[in-house]
Amino acid sequence: MHKSWVGLAAASLMTIAVAGCSGDAALDPAQTGDGENTIELAEFPDRPYWGDTHLHTDNSIDAFGFGVRLGPEDALRFARGEEVTATTGAKARLSRPLDFLVIADHSDGLGATRRLYDAPRWYVDWVIGDETVLRWYDLMHEGPEGSQQAIAELITAAANGTLPESFSDPEQAREGTEDIWNTQIGLLDRYNEPGVFTAFAGFEWTLMPDGNNLHRVVMFRDGSDKTRKILPFGGIDADVQQLWEYMASYEKETGGNVLAIPHNGNLSNGLMFEMTMPDGSPMTSEYAARRAKAEPVVEVTQIKGDGETHPFLSPNDEMAGFGVKGWELGNLPLTLRSTPDMYAGSYARSALLRGLSLEQQLGVNPYAFGMIGSTDSHTALASGDEDNFFGKHTGNEPANQGRAMEPQNLGTREGRFGWHYLAGGYAAAWARGNTRAEIFDAFKRREVYATTGPRMSVRVFGGFDFSASDWDGDWVRAGYTRGVPMGGELTDAGTAPTFLISALKDPDGANLDRAQVVKGWVDASGAMQERVYDVVWSDMDKRPRTARGLTPVGDTVNRADATYTNTIGAPELRTTWTDPDYAAGQRAFYYVRVIEIPTPRWTLFDAVRFGFELTGDALEDAVAQERAYTSPIWLKPKGAGAT
């Protein structure tokens, strides 16, 4: 009797496994689609919705190797504000939930390291039959250090184009990809709750010629009703135009919508925003138009540094250089050092300028993008807060108390240290409600902005007839009806544009130091120009502008216990600002940068929590002024057409 019990029980387990991935039976249609007509929407976008578009889980080839054992469901639970247990054992929870999440696992080798790790050794030896893979396999089974070594080598190999075939051939990895994708889009639907939390389908496409980081996060507007018709696009040695083709064919075949978000360009060695086509030939207007359509938003800040601008490019910008140290040295694996001539193609502000210049030549602006921040966390934990930093990957979760001072090199070269990492940024989307459709469409029209982690609410409207008295009435309505919000375009009307600018501090965070307008334009001779204007700041009567710039706001950070006080700065900064240097017919962009008062970075919290001393550069860098960058508003000459 017992024997047949066992047989039957085991049998039931086995067959269920076979039947296991047929998808979800009875989900509310509101969750499986794009969320249109599921909730009541505000008349105008009513608040910034907060999210992370760039999160990795144990399905990512590198994240698993770095040690993470949390998957997509843990990631969703954490983002929604629930407590989860991090891989290294600590309880992890966000102080405030996020409103949306894109799980962006690398499409190349999706689940591959996990499958490799789980494979029998003979299989690796015989069937895969690749010495390198076998070596990585053995390293991974040695323990965390071996595993991290294997993954560092793997990333270097990917960067150098020497990845073994079993990893690099998307067709070979298809079965694994298919399983993971089908399971994942079902899971996303289950966690997608219009009005409360939005779960987007997506992946990261890992284009990386010679180790220069040209990754893109691909984000779908649709639910599994459409996304189950395709699979993530892979191929790290392809051309970006193939990605756009994949996206266009998805839209054509399903009637769905998809966009791509270029990874922070700071590790691209000048290739993210080139003046030419990827092959070096002159850029065509077709290429420019396709890029503008496929990639309306760029990630400008995340754990691996900040890519707004570099002091070399913006010598007159006293606030330039945030999150640049370490990352400016070279490409992702540091196989190729950066030289200053590369910076213009790596940073967002210069890219926006290049866009204007190219538009003048081609009639189309390939780089008319909005800006967001994200984490790029490889721990399945979308944490962007300085006092709650869970590390870039599992090797530097808080369990590793020395993480701030340790070298953090991919590959074998020297140069980057733990303290170079930022705690990660977030994306804010101005939408009328929290659904896939509303938030995706905000990305599409660029009504989004980046922060380096804090949740300040930033609004900007551009128009020609705004005045200070607009603040007395319903200025949001005025903004939308008589002007355009961030991401919008104005057509030159012969007078200087005026902007309504409001920056409200993070309700649970630091006060604000100042709000600035960054203007970029192409001058009469065709040269690209930029200028940063301090337009409103705290205690304006007590902080005059001097030859050396604005009087600094001060610093209340206590280095001994990692605290600060909001006795300086302002809770909100508002102003109506008119461009004093307007010239008729000028092609220009304007974006707002909001700067917080100085606060402790995660490194200082670590030093206090774990009782060690930061030294030298790390100590100097332990206090920073966090910030937000809005998407620009463009001013276009009459008759220039829309991008």
Binding site: A11, I16, P120
Partner: protein, 265 residues
């Protein structure tokens, strides 16, 4: 004799045979049937391989590409069967772990696709009511002051009438909003202060926040009895996770009951 409940599940019967064949082939290092030296790649199999290619590459494979795919399939099949024949799966710690994980996962997979009936979910919801009872809707008016003195001053002359305060980009009025949303827009400190106020037409405060001080008129605070329909999805997710744990445990217990374990003291 009376069979236990699980043994009457149709699914169990349905899969029984296939599983037994599977077990017979893979358990106990039985020699592989010589007939299994035949690898058949029929039209169906070829179509399957071609379809797989197409889903990734977005086009049908060329003849050469399909041939390569078939060649790879055959190679894997040959090596896999030979490895089993040689018993290479025996005594390999990773294989052991892998199979253990697979058994666990099989139990989970059933929960992943299970279609819970309404009654079952409702029961789960009732049992875990505290998890879903955080719904609280509030309606209030607030007037903002950047300094505490100004707020106290305004409070001292405030009656039930209009109170405008200083400008700030926060809603003046909030109607039937989720308390969680108040925490997000006004911050933790304000939310705590709000929770301590009385309902009524009078101005109260000042309530401190991350922005400054607020006079507040709390029109209503309605604890919303956790409504099954609004949290249904969350309940289902939680139910599923609980199911996965239970199924793993139950599957293990069934198997475990067939073993006699003797541990030396």
């Amino acid at each position: 004799m009376k069979l236990p409940d699980w043994a009457r599940e149709p699914l169990v019967h349905f899969i029984g045979l296939g599983a037994l064949v599977y077990l017979a082939l893979t358990w106990g290092g039985m020699p592989v049937d010589p007939a299994s030296r035949m690898i058949r790649v029929d039209a169906d199999q070829k179509a399957q391989l071609a379809l797989g290619f197409e889903r990734v590459m977005g086009r049908a494979p060329t003849d050469a590409e399909l041939d390569a795919r078939i060649e790879r399939y055959v190679r894997e099949e040959v090596l896999y069967r030979e490895a089993l024949r040689l018993g290479l799966d025996q005594g390999d710690a990773v294989v052991r772990q892998r199979l253990v994980a697979k058994m666990d996962m099989s139990a989970s997979a059933a929960a992943e696709v299970a279609d819970p009936d309404e009654a079952e979910l409702r029961a789960f919801f009732e049992e875990n009511a505290s998890r879903y009872a955080d719904a609280l809707l509030v309606s209030f008016e607030q007037a903002y002051f950047s300094s505490e003195a100004a707020a106290r001053n305004a409070m001292s002359r405030a009656n039930g009438g209009e109170e405008t305060g200083e400008p700030i980009s926060l809603p003046r009025r909030v109607e039937n909003e989720r308390f969680a949303e108040i925490q997000i827009r006004f911050g933790e400190q304000f939310a705590r202060g709000l929770a301590a106020l009385d309902q009524g037409a009078q101005w109260q405060g000042p309530v401190p926040s991350g922005f400054g001080w607020h006079l507040v008129r709390l029109q209503s605070r309605k604890p919303v009895a956790a409504d099954f329909d609004t949290v249904r999805d969350r309940v289902e997710n939680d139910w599923r996770n609980a199911q996965i744990e239970q199924r793993k445990q139950r599957a293990y217990e069934i198997l475990r009951s067939a073993y006699r374990v003797d541990i030396a003291r």
